[in-house]
């Protein structure tokens, strides 16, 4: 069985003989503990093909090694992948911890929480800035992917909304609580500017690291493009995950 995975860290389309859980473990920790790090990827319909991506070539190379071991990864593309994979071909989202524990998240029918207050978005692909905004996830998506008459417009995007806690309503004095963000005085200042000025969004960190703590996810991870709109992968609460996916929860919260 050969799989196709759309990795967000880095953005790439990968063919693999590993199941999603095995792939997640391998992608995070490596075969000989040679690579490390959080991984986020989608399972892609194995029947998906695109003229600009040599998927057949990659699949042809995705065969067992001489010793019978399955092929772990064959990169089909590492550039502008997200915009070429339609939402209809995208399946389950997998969140992998640094130590290789994998959690599968299904696409949800429920709407993202667009409640009052400020929002913090970490864009995962195609670029990775950290952004604060007055807009909820859907308006934020429309701001970036909605039209072609703005220099900001991009064909597709994946982003995650991160918790702001008290800072969502009181940027200057709200308690940081358990939010592990760096340079919080700058974050507070950006939030205050978005709250009080006309701008809808402001970049907090233009070169933000690709990784983030899963426990800071507010709603879930969003993926969308100009033609098909926005899809949401809503994450259960950490309390629920503690009950249902205890091992993943433990690794995700250290």
């Amino acid at each position: 069985m050969r799989h196709l995975y759309l990795s967000l860290m880095p953005e790439a389309l990968i063919a693999s003989m590993l199941s999603p859980e095995e792939f997640g473990n391998y992608y995070a920790v490596g075969a000989e503990h040679t690579t490390q790090g959080q991984a986020v990827f989608f399972e892609v319909d194995p029947a998906f093909r695109h003229a600009d991506i040599p998927i057949e070539t990659a699949l042809a190379r995705c065969v067992p090694h001489a010793d019978g071991q399955p092929k772990h990864t064959v990169y089909a593309s590492v550039y502008r992948v997200l915009e070429r994979v339609p939402l209809s071909a995208i399946g389950t989202l997998y969140l992998v911890t640094k130590d290789g524990r994998t959690l599968g998240v299904q696409r949800g029918a429920e709407k993202a929480d667009s409640s009052e207050g400020l929002h913090l978005y970490h864009e995962l692909a195609p670029v990775r800035p950290l952004v604060v905004s007055r807009l909820g996830p859907e308006p934020f998506f429309r701001l970036l992917c909605g039209g072609s008459d703005t220099p900001l417009s991009i064909p597709a995007i994946t982003f995650v909304e991160l918790r702001l806690g008290d800072l969502a309503t009181d940027p200057l004095n709200g308690s940081l609580g358990d939010l592990p963000y760096d340079n919080t005085s700058h974050l507070r200042s950006c939030l205050e500017q978005v709250k009080s000025k006309e701008v809808a969004a402001k970049v907090v960190d233009r070169l933000h690291p690709g990784t983030f703590s899963y426990r800071t996810i507010k709603n879930g991870i969003f993926i969308g493009n100009k033609t098909e709109g926005l899809a949401a992968y809503m994450l259960p609460s950490m309390g629920t995950l503690k009950e249902t996916n205890h091992l993943w929860w433990k690794s995700a919260t250290i």
């Binding site: 000989e32 503990h33 592990p180 703590s213 009950e243 205890h246 250290i254």
Partner: protein
């Protein structure tokens, strides 16, 4: 009242305490051990602990045999007491044996109780607490029982406190090896497991995929059960023997009666009875707060001891129709006891996250590691003040109250140390409870018990951490007062054997040289033990990385790590690293004494005691503070796990680990051993020395 009768009561009470320990042992052993997987994990911990203890005891036997021969030969030269050397050597061997027995009993039940506590946590918090605390009580009762039995028996046979001093030296020698070795072991495993597991790979604590996880759990037992137990056993015996020596010495000079030579033993008997009563009242209340239950037990036992000791003095004096036991000794005892409890709780202030110091370090950590270290270290320095002021108050109160009632003031100081340590039974019970619940939490995690069980064990574990911090403050303060009494005993022995007076003049270069040489030892000892930790941790980290590389299935959870290799590295590394520091403790005082003379040795002991106590308090409290600042952040404060504050706090905790669990607490034993060596060899040093 016939003094031999008290010694028979001491023997009976000691045996009674051991019997009570065995009853608790049996009760704990009968509890449900739990699932096959949990039992399997517990057996790995048990095997690791047994392997280490076997290696430690083998090393101890070798050291003991050498020292028995040396003591036997050296002390047989007195024609008036031809068998004194043989008796001292036998007492030394007996002391080492008793200390080993108490440590073995405590370890033996701790490695059985951990899995039973985890299983009981599945039923309720109260039941989990009960199993862990009763297992801790096995250690507490066995220790005081063995000590009182041994000292009473030896004094009954020989009626010579100097022979009992050999018993104390035997106990201390083992304690030094057990405490320093256990401290090196536990922090080697802890640091290696954390740096590769948590920091490098993001593996949670107590995850069975970490090759060092079993060594880490074994370390809790060898460091905090056997090590800390041996340390307090050593102080307990040394304080009693120092006061017995002082009592004997003053009685021989005619300033007090012979009953004061055995009064310390009588107070130990009262302490055992108080602990046995107090243990019955340690129960988790409906509010589900185990820390409150542990503290209540300590305070309640303290009150019971004060009441029983007062009744004893009043009744004995009334029955005799005269003052058999001077009330000055009672005031000194109670002052020592009360101050020890106060010092314990001031330690809690500096290391508990409910108070300002820990929270301040946590908050300031958001600005970087440098500030974490500076702030924590500064609080550690401040924490020395209340403890030393407490020791000063205890010293002055006991000295002048004894003097006001017509007793030698320094005897009052010795008795205050005995008062401080009279709660040893309950304090050690609380202390041994800590590693048992820590292990229970680890076993619950590793064996895949439900998260409710893990959460319950976590609540018990938090209380254990606080109890551990209080115990350290208690043991350091007790050791300080003990060595002051031992110091006085040393002076008395020197006076007795040199036939002159013993005065130390700070203008005398010989004395000053002794002081400076003494000041060197605690920092040198600390550095050697901490370097041993870093060296062994480095080796273990390499082994962990090797295993992950050689067995890719470990992280995937499809292959088991080789736990025994990390256990082996920790065990052999700890014992190898002990040789030089242990030699320092025995050889340096002898070199100073025989070369520079008794006054230089007096200065040497003074320098070592004062810097030792300061270093011990600083390192124990700063380490505990950094540890709890990290835990406070992990509880969801100051940015929580993964934040900049957390990263800085993790570094602080790593620095603090060998501070609080290796070097800091071992210094108690170091200064006790050096004081004992000096007192034991004082008769020879008084006669044979080059200078002074």
């Amino acid at each position: 009242m016939n003094s031999d009768l008290w010694l028979y009561i001491g023997i009976g009470c000691g045996l009674g305490s051991i019997a009570a320990a065995l009853v608790y042992y049996r009760w704990v052993f009968r509890q449900e051990p739990g699932t096959e997987k949990a039992v399997q994990i517990a057996s790995w911990i048990k095997d690791g602990a047994s392997t280490y203890l076997r290696m430690l005891y083998r090393a101890l036997i070798a050291v003991a045999v050498v020292l028995v021969v040396v003591l036997g030969v050296i002390f047989s030269g007195d024609p008036e007491r031809p068998l004194h050397g043989v008796y001292t050597a036998a007492a030394f061997g007996f002391g080492a044996l008793c200390s080993a027995l108490a440590g073995w009993l405590g370890m033996s039940i701790a490695v059985k109780a951990n899995v039973r506590t985890a299983t009981a946590c599945g039923r309720s918090l109260g039941q989990g607490f009960n199993v862990a605390f009763k297992a801790g009580a096995v250690m507490g009762l066995a220790m005081v029982g063995v000590a009182v039995f041994g000292m009473s028996l030896l004094y009954l046979i020989f009626h010579d406190a100097e022979i009992v001093l050999g018993f104390s030296f035997g106990a201390s020698s083992l304690a030094l090896l057990a405490k320093a070795g256990g401290g090196i072991y536990t922090k080697t495993a802890d640091i290696a497991a954390d740096l590769t597991g948590k920091v490098e790979l993001g593996i949670p604590e107590d995850d069975p995929r970490n090759p060092a996880v079993i060594a880490d759990n074994v370390g809790d037992n060898v460091g905090d059960v056997a090590g800390m137990g041996a340390d307090i056993f050593d102080s307990y015996v040394a304080a009693t023997v120092a006061s017995m020596l002082l009592g004997t010495s003053f009685a021989a000079a005619g300033s007090i009666g012979m009953q004061y030579a055995i009064l310390p033993l009588i107070l130990c008997i009262v302490g055992i009875v108080s602990a046995l009563i107090g243990l019955q009242f340690v129960k988790v209340g409906p509010d589900g707060k185990p820390g409150k239950a542990l503290n209540f037990g300590t305070v309640f036992s303290c009150v019971v001891f004060c009441v029983l000791a007062t009744i004893l003095f009043v009744v004995v004096n009334a029955l005799a129709g005269e003052t058999v036991f001077n009330y000055g000794a009672l005031i000194a005892t109670i002052s020592g006891l009360v101050i020890s409890v106060i010092i314990g709780f001031t330690t809690d202030y500096f290391t508990n996250d409910e108070y300002r110091p820990v929270r301040n370090v946590a908050e300031i950590s958001a600005s970087g590691t440098g500030l974490t270290i500076i702030t924590g270290f500064s609080y550690g320095l401040i924490s020395i003040a209340p403890a030393l002021i407490g020791i000063v108050i205890a010293t002055l109160t006991s000295y002048f109250s004894a003097q006001a009632f017509g007793l030698p003031g320094i005897y009052g100081v010795g008795i205050a140390a005995v008062g401080m340590l009279s709660l040893t039974g309950i304090v050690v019970s609380n202390d041994a409870y800590g590693p048992i619940v820590d292990n229970a939490k680890g076993i619950a995690e590793m064996s895949g018990m439900s998260h409710e069980v893990v959460d319950t064990a976590d609540v018990l574990d938090s209380a254990g951490n606080t109890a551990k911090a209080i115990t350290k403050g208690f043991s350091i303060s007790a050791a300080a007062l003990t060595v002051l009494a031992m110091y006085a005993a040393y002076s008395e022995v020197i006076v007795k054997y040199s036939g002159g007076s013993f005065l130390m003049n700070l203008q005398d270069p010989i004395v000053l040289s002794g002081i400076f040489l003494g000041c060197i030892v605690p920092p040198l000892f600390s550095a050697l033990t901490m370097l041993a930790v870093t060296r062994n941790a480095f080796t273990m980290i390499e082994e962990i990385r090797r295993q992950f590389k050689a067995k890719p299935g470990i992280l995937a959870g499809t292959e088991l790590p080789d736990y025994s290799r990390c256990v082996g590295i920790a065990s052999s590394g700890a014992l190898r690293a002990l040789v030089f520091p242990a030699l320092l403790a025995v050889v340096l005082p002898l070199m100073v004494g025989f070369i520079l003379g008794p006054t230089a040795l007096g200065g040497f002991l003074g320098g070592a005691i004062f810097t030792g106590v300061v270093f011990a308090l600083l390192m124990s409290n700063a380490g505990g503070l950094w540890d709890n600042a990290k835990k406070y952040i992990e509880a969801g404060n100051c940015g929580g796990p993964g934040s900049e504050a957390h990263k800085a706090a993790v570094v602080g905790d790593t620095v603090g680990d060998p501070f609080k669990d290796t070097a800091g607490p071992s210094l108690n034993t170091l200064i006790t051993v050096m004081s004992l060596v000096s007192s034991l060899f004082a008769p020879l040093i008084a006669q044979y020395h080059i200078f002074g």
